[in-house]
């Protein structure tokens, strides 16, 4: 056996472990769940059996998939907007201490205000529908981008700062050729957090604003199935939103690793 074949076999075993392990736990949970429902004779609107959930998922697959797509679209839209706006705001913050100390408390406001509390306000201003959903996702995902990008733009090695000054770099050159690229790893870290938050934001947004069209997302579907006690369908929606969150977070992690691997070790 060549060393490389040995390594391949080891990688395969590692991969199997990573997939099989969680799968076994999933089956166990499903089994216990099914057992409990049968043993305690729980009403289906309280806790449907896992197989019922599976039925509801497959039976409404088209509806849930389209809602998931709609929610993903809003989340990605809000996330991309926050990425652009957050980087621009961080650029302003990194230019002057005065701007930073004056404006930072209001950036923290973004972080601390309960999104549920301002969502109705956003609907008052922007109406119900897709636009408001994107705005909610945007607001909730903005703060991590601002803080991380600002930190990255300020974390400049003093020697590099001296080097740029020695060669008479303009403010714009320092920003474009030093501060902005230096902040990319930080922005990507913030973006990973934000991407997860954007999914939450768009679902919360849809709770309040998602009924404007026939073309609704997961948040609205969750609200509707919950109100009508279609609990098996509700479970399917919850699982779909979790999978969506994981998918978006995982793609951000892959993008992260791909960009940074070219610049930094491990």
């Amino acid at each position: 056996m060549t060393p490389s074949a040995g390594r391949h076999r080891k990688n395969l075993r590692e991969l199997l472990l990573q997939i099989a392990g969680p799968l076994v736990v999933l089956l166990l949970i499903g089994g216990v769940w099914q057992g409990c429902v049968a043993a305690f004779d729980l009403k289906p609107f309280l806790l449907p059996r896992p197989l019922k959930v599976l039925d509801a998922a497959t039976g409404n697959a088209a509806k849930i998939a389209s809602a998931t797509g709609r929610t993903a679209f809003a989340a990605v839209g809000g996330f991309l907007a926050s990425l652009a706006a957050g980087t621009l705001i961080a650029c302003g913050f990194s230019q002057s201490r005065l701007v930073r100390t004056s404006c930072y408390p209001y950036a923290i406001f973004l972080q601390t205000v309960p999104i549920v509390a301002i969502a109705p306000l956003i609907i008052t201003w922007f109406g119900s529908g897709f636009r408001s959903v994107v705005i909610v996702a945007f607001i909730i995902s903005l703060f991590p981008i601002i803080t991380n990008a600002t930190a990255g733009m300020l974390a400049i090695d003093p020697d590099l700062s001296d080097l740029f000054r020695l060669h008479r770099a303009s403010r714009l050159q320092i920003w474009l050729k030093l501060r902005l690229p230096n902040s990319v790893p930080h922005i990507l870290t913030g973006a990973r957090t934000s991407s997860g938050l954007a999914v939450i934001g768009s679902i919360v947004g849809e709770f309040f604003a998602g009924y404007g069209t026939d073309n609704y997302g997961l948040g609205y579907l969750i609200l509707q199935t919950s109100n009508q006690l279609r609990t098996a369908e509700l479970f399917a929606c919850v699982i779909a939103s979790t999978l969506l969150g994981i998918a978006i977070f995982a793609s951000m992690s892959v993008i992260n690793a791909t960009i940074l691997r070219r610049w930094y070790d491990a």
Binding site: D157, D159, L160, D162, L163, F164, R165, L166, H167, R168, A169, Q173, K177, L178, P181, V184, R262, W263, Y264, D265
Partner: protein, 261 residues
């Protein structure tokens, strides 16, 4: 070689932070154009600060300091600085890093072809190959990164080259090799060189003069001239004259560290 009396001239130059704690006091010395001088001294004595004053990155708070008759940091003199760390930009390739000073300084803005030729020349001068051009810093060894850092300084064809312990982090053999190459490049190009180091043998091997600084706040307490002819061969290090001179400088340095204790 033009020997105008004082290309770099410091008179009673001092620097204090916040007007109280002194980091450099009453430093006076002169350097001719094209001269290579090393500065040795105890840690924290202000050697690096002196280089930054000459680069115009800080201004002296006492005394005067002129480069070619002007206040340092103006547009008159092309000055390059090599830091202790290679300080390369990780997102740029070797070529991109070496070309950075040419991009930044609009005075050195040239036709693309000319810029390209300058970059290639600087990279070859420090002994890197064509297949290293597209590599990023993370793919290079410590010694190669320092070579790129040297190339980035040489690319502007500096009149003054300020080197702040550039080889301190490298192992001894690599340090000796880079010393030999630095000496070869200086002998070809004849920029005015000021080299800060902790290593006495390195200072003696490279320079025409070694300045010795006292403990902090540092001032110059010794000026030893090094008579060996250029270009210098590695074998010089094994000669008894070399050992005698390094011993002499070391003794002065030890006194500097013990004095004012």
């Amino acid at each position: 070689m033009t020997h105008d009396a004082a290309f770099i001239h410091a008179e009673q130059t001092g620097l204090s932070f916040d007007g109280r704690s002194l980091s450099l006091r009453e430093v006076s010395f002169s350097m001719c154009r094209g001269e290579f001088v090393s500065i040795v001294g105890p840690s924290g004595c202000g050697k690096s600060t002196l280089l930054r004053l000459i680069a115009g990155l800080r201004s002296p708070s006492q005394g005067t300091l002129t480069v070619d008759g002007h206040v340092p940091g103006g547009a008159q003199t092309r000055t390059a600085f090599v830091f202790q760390e290679p300080n390369l930009l990780p997102w740029r390739t070797v070529r991109g890093n070496v070309g950075l000073p040419l991009e930044l300084d609009r005075r050195t803005a040239n036709a693309a072809a000319e810029t390209d030729a300058k970059i290639t020349q600087a990279i070859r001068l420090v002994g890197l190959n064509a297949d290293d051009d597209g590599k990023r810093p993370r793919q290079l060894s410590g010694g190669m990164r320092m070579r790129v850092s040297l190339a980035r300084a040489l690319v502007i064809e500096p009149e003054i080259m300020l080197l702040d312990e550039p080889f301190a982090a490298l192992d001894d053999i690599l340090r000796q090799q880079l010393n030999e190459e630095l000496q070869r490049i200086w002998w070809q190009r004849r920029w005015t060189g000021l080299f800060v180091t902790h290593n006495v043998a390195e200072a003696v091997f490279l320079s025409q003069r070694v300045l010795i600084m006292s403990r902090s706040p540092g001032t110059l307490i010794g000026d030893v001239s090094v008579p060996f002819a250029f270009p210098r061969e590695p074998a010089l290090r094994a000669s008894s004259e070399f050992a005698k001179l390094t011993g002499e400088v070391s003794a002065l340095l030890r006194r500097a560290a013990e004095d004012a204790a």
